[in-house]
C-alpha cells in the first residue's frame, strides 16, 4: 500500500499538501489544472524531488533517502523514456540489469515483453526508427520487465493522437491488471480517467485530495472539480 503521510511539498512559493493512502492494485488518475503540482507529486513519490515534511511509505516502510532506482517505483515521463543511442532491446533490458551481457533467460524475458506490447522483432532498432506510438510501447515493455509494484505515469502519451492515446491507456490497464501493480497516472483529460481509472486524486488549491471513486466523482463533480472541468 502507498501511504502519503502529511506530505508537505514546497518549491519556491508553491506549496502542495497530501495526506492519503492508495489501496494496492488501485488505478488512480491524478487530475487537476496545470501548475497545480500533479507532476511534482509524482516526482516526490519517485524520489526526484524531496518533500519539505511528511513521509512517503510503501508497505509501511518510508522511502525517504532511497535513490529513485532503489524505490519500488517504475515511472514514465512526458518524454525521454528511451535512450536514443541504444537499441530497443537494450533499452528494455536496462529495466532488468545494467550488465553488458544478458543471460539467455534475460534475453527471453526482453523478447517476451516486446512481444506482449506488440513489438516482436523490433529489438535491434533505434528509438528514432519507431513511430511515437511504438516508442510508447517500447517504454511500456521496459516497465513490464522492471516489475515494480508501483507505476507512475506523468502524461507519457500526451504527444499522441486521441485514438493512439486511448490504445496506450488500454494497454497500460491490461498490463497493470496482469501484474497487479498500483497505478498513479497524471492526466488533463477526464475521459482518460473514466477510461481506465477506478479512482481520482484531485490536485487543486494546494492540496492533493484523497482518492475518490472516479465514476461517481465525474458524474457528480464537487465544486473544485467543476471549476477545473469548466462546466
Amino acid at each position: 500500500m502507498l501511504d502519503l503521510r502529511s506530505l508537505d511539498i514546497r518549491q519556491g512559493s508553491f506549496r502542495l499538501r497530501a495526506d492519503f493512502r492508495v489501496a494496492p492494485g488501485a488505478k488512480v488518475a491524478v487530475l487537476g489544472p496545470s501548475g497545480a503540482g500533479k507532476s511534482t507529486l509524482l516526482s516526490v513519490i519517485a524520489g526526484f524531488f524531496p518533500a519539505q515534511g511528511g513521509s512517503v511509505l510503501w508497505q509501511g516502510q518510508p522511502l525517504e533517502g532511497l535513490a529513485p532506482g532503489r524505490r519500488p517505483v517504475a515511472m514514465l515521463f512526458q518524454d525521454g523514456n528511451l535512450f536514443p543511442h541504444l537499441d530497443i532491446a537494450r533499452n528494455v533490458a536496462l529495466g532488468l540489469t545494467p550488465a553488458r551481457r544478458l543471460t539467455p533467460a534475460q534475453r527471453d524475458r526482453v523478447a517476451q515483453a516486446l512481444a506482449r506490447v506488440g513489438l516482436a522483432g523490433f529489438g535491434p532498432r533505434r528509438p528514432a526508427e519507431l513511430s511515437g506510438g511504438q516508442q510508447s510501447r517500447a517504454a511500456l515493455a521496459r516497465i513490464l520487465v522492471q516489475e515494480r509494484p508501483l507505476l507512475l505515469l506523468d502524461e507519457p502519451f500526451a504527444a499522441l493522437g486521441p485514438a493512439l492515446r486511448a490504445e496506450m491507456l488500454d494497454l497500460v490497464a491490461a498490463l497493470v491488471e496482469e501484474t497487479g501493480a498500483t497505478l498513479l497516472m497524471v492526466s488533463h483529460a477526464p475521459e482518460d480517467a473514466r477510461r481506465i481509472a477506478g479512482e481520482i486524486v484531485l490536485v487543486e488549491g494546494g492540496t492533493a485530495h484523497p482518492p475518490a471513486p472516479a465514476r461517481a466523482l465525474l458524474d457528480n463533480p464537487p465544486e473544485a472539480l467543476r471549476r477545473y472541468l469548466g462546466d
Binding site: A67, G69, G80, R90, P98, Q146
Partner: protein
C-alpha cells in the same frame, strides 16, 4: 547517488590538475627567491614579447576582417571547406608551418627569388617580422572564425531590413557591422595576444638574438646556454604574470571562441554588394587561401623527394611521437571526463587554469622538482605527456563539459529511474552521448601533442627524439630536404590522428 560519486571524481580530477600546475609553480617561487634579479636583457625579452604579441594580434585581426566579411556575405562552392580549413592551423605542428613559411619567405624562398628578379630584396624572415608573420599565419584563421561567428550572430532580419531601406554598404557597415565588431574584436585581439605571449617554437626558430628573444625563449636559453636555474625561475615567474593577466583579459573580453559549430550555415544576405566589391571579396579570399596554403604546399613539394631517403631514426621518433600523442589524448579525455562529471562551474573554472601557465614555465617547474632526485631527461617523455595534457585541457573541457551537462539534463532522470550508477551510467548514458565530443577532444589532444616542440627541448632526451625535435635538429643542420620530409610525415600523422579520433567519435552508431 551517481551525482555524488561524480562530484567526488570531479574533485579528485581537479585536485590532480591543481597539483600538476601548482607544484611546479611553487618550485619556481622557491627557486626565484634565490637572489637573481632580472637583468636588462630579461626586461628586453619582456618588451619584445609584448611587442610581438601586440603586433601579431593587430595584424591577424586586421587581415581577418576582410576575409571574415567576404565569407559572411558571399556564397560560393567550397565555402564550407574554406571555413573548415580555417580550423586546420590549430592542429598543424608549429615547426611544420614555420618551415613552410621559411620556404616561401626565407632568403632562398620563392618570394625572395621573385623579388631578386625585379632587382629587389632580399627580405629577411628572422627577427620581429618573421615571428609576427608566423603568428599571423596561425592566428589570422582563428580571428577569421571568431569574426565570422560575430557576423553570423547578426540576425538575418536586420540585413533584410537594411536591404528594404536600400541602405548603401557604408551605412550597413556603420549600423549593423560596427556594433558587432565593437563586441567581437576586443575578444579576438585579447585571445590572440595571450596565445602569442606563450608561443615558443616560433620564437625558437625565427627569433633569437638580443633583439628578438621572447621570455619563453629566454627561459629555454637560461637552461641550455647558461644552465642558470635561478634566472630560469625568475623568467618563468615573469612569464606567468604576463600570461595569466592576458588569459584573464582574453576570458573577460572573448565572447566568441571560434570553436562554434554551424559556421558553415548559410544565411540569406540581401546586402552582398555587386560590382567592384564583389571582385574585391574574391581577391581577398584568394589571397587568404594562398597565404595559408602556399607554405604547406611548398613544404610538401620540397619534402616529397626527401621521402625516398628518410633520415635514420625517423621511425623510432615517429613511434615515440605517436605514443606520446596517444597517451596525452587518453589522459586529457580521462581528466576532462572526470572534471566534467562534477557538473560544477568551479571545477570547470579550475580546468581553465592551465591557460595561465605556459609550457616552458611548467617544464621549468617540473625540472626544478625532478632535478635533485633524478636526471630529468629520463622522465622527458612522461613530462611531455603531462604538459601536453595540461595544455589541451582548457580546450577539451570547454567542449566536453557542456556535452556532459546536456547528456545528464536530457537523460539523467531516466538513468536515475533505472538505477544506473557508476560504471553502468558511464557505459549506457555518458560514453555513448559524449562519443562525438570525446572523439573530437581526443583528436585535438593527440594532434596538439604530436606537433609540440616545447618542453622536450628543455628536458633533452636520452635517445628518444620526437618527430618535431628530430625535424628541428635537421633544420639546425641545414638538411632542408630531410627536414621537410620529416615535416610531411609529422603533418600527416597529426592530421591523421585527429581525423581517426574525430571519425571514430562520429561513427554512425554513436
Amino acid at each position: 547517488m551517481a551525482l555524488r560519486a561524480g562530484a567526488l571524481i570531479a574533485r579528485g580530477s581537479a585536485g590532480l590538475l591543481l597539483a600538476l600546475l601548482f607544484a611546479p609553480l611553487a618550485a619556481i617561487l622557491i627557486r626565484a627567491g634565490g637572489g637573481y634579479l632580472p637583468a636588462p636583457a630579461d626586461w628586453a625579452a619582456v618588451r619584445f614579447t609584448l611587442l610581438q604579441a601586440a603586433l601579431s594580434a593587430l595584424v591577424s585581426v586586421a587581415l581577418a576582417l576582410p576575409v571574415a566579411r567576404a565569407l559572411a556575405r558571399r556564397r560560393f562552392p567550397g565555402r564550407r571547406l574554406f571555413i573548415a580549413l580555417t580550423g586546420a592551423p590549430f592542429i598543424l605542428p608549429v615547426i611544420v608551418a614555420v618551415m613552410g613559411l621559411v620556404a616561401i619567405f626565407g632568403v632562398r624562398g620563392a618570394l625572395n627569388t621573385a623579388l631578386a628578379q625585379l632587382g629587389l630584396g632580399p627580405l629577411r624572415i628572422y627577427g620581429l617580422h618573421g615571428v609576427v608573420l608566423a603568428h599571423v599565419f596561425f592566428n589570422m584563421p582563428l580571428a577569421t572564425r571568431m569574426l565570422l561567428q560575430g557576423w553570423q550572430a547578426i540576425p538575418a532580419e536586420r540585413f533584410r531590413l537594411a536591404a528594404q531601406l536600400n541602405l548603401p554598404p557604408a551605412a550597413t557597415f556603420r549600423l549593423l557591422e560596427v556594433p558587432m565588431l565593437r563586441q567581437v574584436v576586443p575578444g579576438a585581439l585579447a585571445a590572440i595576444f595571450a596565445i602569442c605571449l606563450a608561443s615558443f617554437a616560433v620564437a625558437l626558430i625565427l627569433g633569437g638574438g638580443p633583439r628578438a628573444t621572447t621570455v619563453e625563449l629566454a627561459i629555454y636559453q637560461a637552461f641550455t646556454f647558461d644552465f642558470d636555474l635561478g634566472r630560469a625561475a625568475v623568467l618563468a615567474l615573469m612569464q606567468t604574470a604576463l600570461v595569466a593577466l592576458a588569459a584573464v583579459a582574453a576570458l573577460v573580453f572573448a565572447r566568441a571562441d571560434g570553436s562554434g559549430a554551424g559556421l558553415g550555415r548559410p544565411i540569406a544576405r540581401w546586402d552582398a554588394p555587386r560590382g567592384w566589391r564583389r571582385g574585391a571579396d574574391v581577391l581577398v579570399l584568394m589571397l587568404a587561401a594562398a597565404f595559408l596554403a602556399a607554405p604547406i604546399l611548398s613544404l610538401a613539394l620540397s619534402g616529397l623527394p626527401g621521402l625516398a631517403q628518410l633520415p635514420a631514426g625517423i621511425w623510432g621518433a615517429a613511434m615515440t611521437s605517436v605514443l606520446v600523442a596517444l597517451a596525452s589524448a587518453a589522459l586529457t579525455c580521462l581528466l576532462c571526463l572526470g572534471m566534467a562529471a562534477g557538473l560544477s562551474a568551479v571545477v570547470q573554472g579550475v580546468g581553465l587554469l592551465p591557460l595561465a601557465l605556459s609550457p616552458l614555465v611548467l617544464g621549468t617547474g617540473w625540472f626544478l622538482i625532478l632535478n635533485p632526485v633524478i636526471a630529468p631527461s629520463v622522465l622527458a617523455l612522461p613530462m611531455l605527456v603531462a604538459v601536453n595534457t595540461l595544455m589541451a585541457m582548457p580546450f577539451c573541457l570547454r567542449i566536453l563539459a557542456p556535452a556532459y551537462a546536456r547528456a545528464e539534463s536530457d537523460h539523467g532522470r531516466l538513468a536515475d529511474q533505472l538505477g544506473l550508477r557508476g560504471l553502468a551510467r558511464l557505459r549506457w548514458l555518458v560514453l555513448p552521448r559524449l562519443r562525438p565530443a570525446l572523439g573530437f577532444c581526443a583528436g585535438l589532444a593527440a594532434a596538439l601533442s604530436m606537433g609540440d616542440l616545447g618542453v622536450i627541448t628543455l628536458f633533452g632526451t636520452s635517445g628518444q627524439d620526437t618527430l618535431p625535435l628530430l625535424m628541428y635538429r635537421l633544420m639546425g643542420a641545414y638538411r632542408t630536404e630531410a627536414a621537410s620530409a620529416v615535416g610531411l610525415i609529422l603533418m600527416a600523422l597529426s592530421f591523421g590522428l585527429f581525423w581517426l579520433f574525430d571519425r571514430g567519435g562520429a561513427a554512425p552508431d554513436a
